[in-house]
């Protein structure tokens, strides 16, 4: 990962919206911008969707896995060790209650696993930075594209009312909050 | 010091080693064989452990004398079954017989002789047999003529020794065998009546299986009367097949025998004999009497005013007519005079009336016989004889008068089993030495005994029995120890023999045997000699070799004839069965209800109250367990506002008891029913402080001049106490309707 990183603190959603649009017009790709907010804002306000997630994949995997486990338990084990019980065939329709429940269970668990994976494990260039606790407002992290001048972006953001913070503050915070969030050096 | 290493412990340890070895081995083989050894997928029932050894023996849980098979493994008896070859049981066994194991392995059994030093309130201390027997021997030698033996049921071989012991002691006593269970059998009265009518003073043989129409007059023959297993088999025979025989029960309380009858007639208690007269009269009127009947028998019935009498007894005359017709027209009718008849002061007349009814319809030698004689004739006598009530009362009077120095309680629990009014407690206090031989602690031994010399249970000792009433096959049943003694006990015969040896003199002369085994062995030889002398040519064992005979006698569970041998009945027609004798009424306004006391199907007179299985098995009619109760008619319940479980005070002249009520559909107004059996104070954990001893209520009324107790003539009053007890029983609702779909 190359290029400078700019940290800007912006108050209020309107300010962010303005800054995002400004950056986008300057040609900074949405992928180079990370926006940290304490509540979710509609993406339409915040410079568009950033749907870079594999969560559906995990969910689907859970669905299939749960289904397979359910089928194995409710059909497989009964065939493996067939014991006869009164008025039921070895495989009888009611056992599919199990298939249903386990399918859902797989889905639910894998969705969570996916969520944790994406949040904590998956490599993400801009995720190593932490917001210092006492910053009031929303934080915009911009990775300056290699072909741009850092100063221009700084200036543009400042124009939109952003407070540019020195990177040292963040690094200090990063070390202090190590156990909490980040283990990895920013590359 | 070497640690004590018993065989069982050794087995346990080697078993452990073996298990460890298996585990170690399987460790190498991965998914090893230890799972295969006994995989949980296979149920434990799929496994069987070892091979059983079966021994034959003789059931002593009641006086009927069924042959049994004992299933054992590793020296432990674990199941009793009927001996399939034995003439009486034929492979069947009743609940009491099944519970014999709990006599053998009763947790409250005495573990050895016990003595108490001075007062009868002192605790017992363990002693050894030498000392205990020394006391017995000394007592025997020092008190000639002042010794008595009491027992509720003495097996034949014990009775014989006991009788000889008393003979040696002098004083003209014979063992006193009497309690309410024995009184309820009515043996003596039945024998006397048989003498009057059937020509021989012997118990009749009721061949229910051969009959096709049976009228039972107060005979609980499926429950406790005389030989229930045999009669039950007969009843099954009666009911079998297309020509299903009929059964009519005439009794004031619906017993479980009456419950399976086709008809139940409930005349007032004590008037069953009159029903026999009515039926006889109808038979006469309809000219249905047997062709070969003694002519004079008609006269007994001709005077009866049938319709009026039926009305007086509250019975439906038309129904009686139908019953009489069916009875007399059947191929093989049989009227049974049950033990219940002996409960009233008109017992002899009533029994005679019923037997006479048999003569009228030609039952003798078709369904009614006499018991066969013992295989060795008189050689084995005396066999057990039930004493009369008067004899027993006389013994107690003697005791009270200080004329008995030694009382040997060979069996049973006289303090519990005899009515309080007879005064056993008072009498026992006057006896200087009371030795109790029960294998269990009993109320009597706890309160009055000076010495307890616990005897073996019947599964640990030798013996023989000649059942009476037997079957048509004369029989001598073998009793043999099937397990090693569980505790430090001795067989009663051995105790008596040892005592006699120590006492010396006449005792040693009359009781010459070395031990019980020798005695039994010799008795069997006596019988064999009698057989080979040519009196009976056929039999189950065909050998003249005494050794082999004795072996086979034990192996097959006894000897019995293979040919039916029924002494012919030669009817004697009595001049009259006076109607007046039959009318029994003791109206007493203060005590409006007659007390019908009856032997508990499972606990008998109470001797089985210390067996958990029998306590937990429900009474068939009320399904009550572990408890005493009083049965009352629903009408009375309504009148007194009682429901099942309410506690009432039942008071007779003799005693007052508080007992829960069971509202019983099967009991007539004016009668209340109570089972015997509970109310022990020191008979082990299963019996103590449970229910009440109903026997104590009895008034001491005699049956005419027969010397028997009219045990059904006591009158009681019933009073509500307001308490309630959740009477333990199997049925859970008072709902009486049938389940749907049946």
């Amino acid at each position: 990962m190359s290029g400078e990183v700019i940290f800007a603190v912006i108050e209020g959603p309107e300010g962010i919206a303005r800054a995002m649009r400004r950056l986008s017009r300057m040609g900074v790709s949405r992928k180079r911008i990370e926006l940290l907010t304490d509540i979710p804002y509609p993406p339409s306000l915040m410079g568009g969707e950033t749907s870079d997630t594999r969560l559906p994949l995990f969910t689907s995997l859970g669905l299939v896995g749960g289904l397979a486990l359910g089928l194995f338990l409710s059909v497989g084990t009964l065939l493996l060790y067939p014991l006869i019980v009164g008025s039921q065939a070895v495989i009888s329709p009611p056992v599919f209650v199990i298939v249903y429940e386990l399918t859902i269970l797989g889905l639910v668990i894998m969705t969570f696993v996916g969520f944790v994976y994406e949040n904590r494990i998956r490599k993400d260039p801009l995720r190593d930075w932490v917001i210092p606790a006492d910053i009031d407002g929303h934080v915009l992290i911009v990775q300056v594209p290699p072909d741009m001048v850092e100063g221009r972006i700084r200036a543009a953001l400042s124009e939109e009312g952003a407070r540019i913070l020195p990177i040292e503050d963040f690094e200090a915070e990063r070390l202090e909050g190590e156990a909490l969030v980040i283990e990895r050096e920013p590359s | 010091m070497m640690p004590k290493f018993t065989r069982r412990e050794f087995l346990k340890k080697s078993g452990l080693l073996a298990a460890a070895g298996t585990l170690a081995l399987s460790g190498c083989g991965g998914r090893g064989n230890e799972e295969r050894l006994v995989p949980f997928l296979r149920t434990p029932e799929e496994q069987v452990a070892g091979t059983f050894t079966y021994y034959t023996s003789l059931c002593q849980m009641c006086p009927a004398g069924c042959g049994i098979l004992v299933r054992t493994m590793n020296g432990r008896a674990n199941k009793l079954e009927g001996n399939p070859q034995h003439p009486i049981s034929q492979g069947r066994l009743c609940a009491r017989g099944q519970a014999g194991l709990q006599a053998l392995y009763n947790p409250d059994r005495l573990q050895g002789p016990e003595v108490r030093a001075n007062q009868r309130t002192d605790p017992f201390e363990r002693t050894n047999w030498d000392e205990g027997l020394a006391v017995l021997g000394q007592a025997l030698s020092e008190s000639p003529g002042r010794i008595a033996i009491y027992g509720g049921h003495l097996p034949d071989h014990v009775y014989r020794v006991a009788a000889r012991l008393l003979e040696a002691a002098g004083g003209n006593r014979r063992p006193t065998v009497w309690n309410l269970y024995r009184a309820a059998e009515g043996r003596n009265l039945l024998q006397q009546a048989a003498g009057d009518i059937l020509g021989a003073e012997r118990l009749p043989l009721f061949d229910i299986g051969a009959a096709s129409a049976v009228i039972s007059f107060n005979a609980a023959f499926l429950e406790t009367w005389l030989s229930p297993v045999q009669y039950s088999r007969g009843f099954a025979e009666l009911r079998k097949g297309a020509n299903r025989g009929s059964l009519v029960a005439v009794e004031p309380r619906l017993s479980s025998t009456a419950a399976v009858a086709d008809d139940w007639l409930s005349p007032p208690g004590g008037r069953e004999g009159e029903v026999a007269l009515i039926i006889g009269k109808i038979v006469l009127d309809e000219r249905l009497g047997a062709g070969d009947r003694p002519a004079s028998v008609d006269a007994l019935f001709s005077q009866v005013e049938a319709r009026g009498l039926a009305e007086e007894l509250g019975l439906d005359f038309e129904k009686l007519v139908r019953i009489a017709r069916r009875f007399a027209r059947s191929e093989a009718p049989l009227a049974i005079p049950g033990g219940g008849l002996s409960a009233f002061d008109n017992a002899p007349a009533a029994i005679r009336a019923v037997l006479a009814l048999n003569l009228l319809v030609g039952a003798p030698n078709r369904t009614l016989f006499l018991s066969p004689p013992a295989p060795a004739g008189g050689e084995l006598d005396p066999r057990e004889e039930v004493s009369s009530y008067v004899e027993t009362a006389a013994l107690l009077e003697d005791m009270k008068a200080g004329e008995v120095d030694v009382l040997l309680v060979a069996d049973g629990d006289p303090y519990h089993d005899l009515p309080e009014a007879m005064g056993f407690a008072e009498a026992a206090d006057q006896v200087p030495l009371l030795i109790d031989f029960s294998p269990f602690p009993t109320d009597t031994s706890e309160l009055f005994a000076d010495l307890r010399l616990p005897q073996h249970t019947y599964l640990e000792s030798w013996g023989f029995g000649v059942p009476e009433p037997g079957t048509a096959l004369s029989t001598m049943t073998a009793q043999q120890p099937v397990v090693p003694p569980v505790f430090d006990t001795r067989s009663l015969v051995d105790i008596f023999l040892a005592g006699a040896r120590l006492a010396g003199g006449t005792y040693a002369e009359l009781l010459p045997w070395e031990d019980e085994f020798t005695y039994v062995r010799q008795s069997v030889e006596t019988m064999q000699q009698a057989l080979t002398a040519g009196r009976i040519q056929t039999g189950s064992i065909l050998t003249n070799d005494p050794e082999k005979f004795f072996l086979e006698w034990r192996q097959f569970g006894g000897w019995w004839s293979t040919q039916e041998d029924r002494p012919e009945v030669t009817p004697v027609v009595p001049s009259e069965v006076a109607l007046e004798q039959l009318v029994t009424a003791r109206p007493e306004e203060a005590r409006p209800h007659r007390l019908q006391i009856y032997p508990h199907l499972l606990l008998a007179e109470g001797r089985h109250a210390n067996k958990a299985w029998l306590q937990e098995a429900p009474d068939p009619m009320t399904t009550v367990v572990w408890q005493s109760w009083v049965e009352i008619n629903p009408g009375l319940a309504e009148e007194l506002e009682l429901k099942t479980g309410d506690i009432v005070r039942v008071a007779s002249q003799s005693a007052e008891l508080e007992v829960p009520v069971y509202v019983f559909q099967g009991i007539a107004p004016g009668v209340v029913g109570m089972p015997m059996g509970q109310g022990h104070v020191a008979y082990g954990r299963y019996a103590n402080d449970r229910g009440v001893n109903t026997v104590d209520l009895l008034e001491l009324l005699e049956v005419g001049d027969t010397g028997e107790l009219a045990w059904g003539s006591t009158r009681v009053s019933i009073e509500k106490t307001g308490d309630h007890d959740n009477l333990a029983r199997l049925e859970r609702s008072d709902a009486t309707e049938l389940p749907t779909g049946i």
Partner: protein, 212 residues
């Protein structure tokens, strides 16, 4: 009843537990009043596990403690059971009994225990097994001798002991056996037949000869 207790190592529970309806009777004789006083008529209904072909108790057990054996018995596998008591709830005949406490066999009563039958601990369901241990013994014996089990070779303890011979036991698959013939007779019916559990036990209608 007592024969059953003796054969199958059934524990007694005592008066208080019976009051709470916790007896362990595998077979019980239910006494019904067909009519009440003054003309009481009684019906005795011996009730034991009916060994249903379509046993409602079996599918509901979560751990296969209640299963069908290959010879049609309705087995209760004690070491699998952990006491949900679901099977007992689902039994229309209420013949399953539960060990609410550990059964007591105080010394030396433990000596009377049948070595073929597991002694059940606390929290285990049990019921009539048709004395399966006897059937297994007979089958092993027959197998060792290379033959089939003969009619009458094996009977449960209750059938064996019943003095009135009210119970008959046999192989329903063998049309010649007495049991099969009786079960096929006009008198035979199934208890609570409308639930359609296809019990192995048939009851025979009585042929009462009541006279009014």
């Amino acid at each position: 009843m007592v024969a059953c207790y003796a054969e199958n190592n059934i524990a007694t529970v005592g008066e208080e537990q019976i009051q709470k309806d916790r007896g362990l009777h595998w077979i019980r004789i239910e006494r019904y009043w067909k009519t009440e006083w003054p003309k009481p008529r009684v019906l005795f209904l011996p009730l034991l596990c009916q060994h249903c072909d379509r046993a409602p108790c079996e599918p509901v057990c979560p751990v296969f403690a209640s299963v069908h054996s290959d010879d049609g018995l309705n087995l209760q596998v004690y070491n699998r059971c952990f006491g949900t008591r679901y099977c007992a709830n689902n039994c229309p005949y209420k013949v399953r009994v539960f060990n609410w406490f550990k059964g007591e066999f105080p010394e030396p009563m433990n000596a009377q225990l049948n070595p073929d039958v597991t002694v059940r601990g606390v929290g285990i369901m049990e019921k009539c097994t048709f004395c399966v241990q006897r059937i297994r013994r007979a089958r092993q014996q027959a197998r060792a001798e290379g033959r089939d089990v003969l009619e009458g070779e094996v009977v449960p303890a209750c059938v064996q002991t019943c003095p009135t011979g009210a119970l008959t036991f046999g192989d329903l698959n063998d049309p010649d056996s007495l049991a099969a013939r009786l079960a096929a007779s006009d008198r035979a019916y199934h208890l609570l037949g409308f639930i359609d559990t296809e019990p192995s036990i048939s009851y025979l209608k009585g042929l009462g000869a009541e006279s009014g």
